[in-house]
């Protein structure tokens, strides 16, 4: 699988998640504004340009991890 394939399939996974978020927003009008905000962030993060930018950042961070330099954060999405 090429890097290009990986990006495309990551986009498919994101599309699946997006579809469910749209359904959740329709089912829960109270939470809809927050969910729509999350959908917008997901859309912005999964453009090809952004994915390429993330890949660049990841290379630098992987180099630090390889040297044993850890600098973790509390990202809620890691709980999923």
């Amino acid at each position: 699988m090429s890097v290009f394939d990986f990006f495309i399939k990551t986009g498919l996974a994101a599309s699946e998640l997006r579809g469910w978020l749209v359904l959740a927003a329709k089912a829960s009008p109270d939470a809809a504004p927050k969910i729509e905000e999350q959908i917008a962030k997901l859309d912005a993060a999964t453009t090809p340009e952004m994915l390429a930018s993330f890949a660049q950042t990841a290379v630098g961070e992987l180099a630090n991890i390889g040297q044993g330099k850890f600098d973790g954060r509390d990202s809620p999405s890691n709980a999923a």
Binding site: A14, S15, G19, W20, F54, I65, G68, G72, S77, A79
Partner: protein
């Protein structure tokens, strides 16, 4: 089944190493939780799952992640181990989106296939007073089966000593 225990052991070893390394600035989290899981086009049955997950954040954006789940209706054990990259503000502890990939293993491959999946995940702490509670949703795409599945659930952060 052997593969399942091997992968679970690998995840446990990774997390233990992180915890024991006093100089590490990794953020290690262990969660108990519950999921609903649905497969696109109803190719496989949906289920309600109980279990737990763990994450070791190694850099601002990169984390090792894993989890083990029991399917209540179909009596299977499902797990995953992989890596995730945070694509939103990494300094926001209340909301993030992550992209990545995990190897999924299962005691019942006919119900939950064993394969590598790419994933998109959202985590959201909607109630600041309940800071240990995180709502999660995850979309995954299996590279062997070309099937998509979706998980929506809740996690409770078990504070480590």
């Amino acid at each position: 089944m052997r593969k399942l225990w091997f992968t679970a052991g690998l995840v446990a070893l990774l997390l233990t190493t992180m915890l024991l390394n006093a100089n590490a600035q990794a953020v290690v989290k262990v969660y108990a939780g519950a999921n609903g899981i649905w497969v696109a086009d109803e190719a496989r049955p949906a289920d309600f799952e109980l279990g737990g997950s763990a994450a070791a954040s190694l850099s601002p954006h990169i984390a090792a992640v894993g989890g083990i789940w029991y399917g209540v209706a179909h009596s299977y054990i499902r797990g995953s181990a992989g890596a995730r990259y945070t694509v939103t503000d990494a300094s926001d502890p209340n909301f993030s989106i992550g992209l990545g990939g995990s190897y999924h293993f299962s005691s019942e491959p006919a119900i939950r296939p064993e394969e590598f999946c790419v994933e998109a995940a959202i985590g959201w702490k909607p109630w600041p007073q309940l800071y240990r509670v995180t709502l999660v949703a995850l979309g995954a795409y299996g590279l062997d089966t070309s099937e998509a599945h979706m998980i929506a659930g809740v996690r409770y952060d078990i504070h480590l000593p």
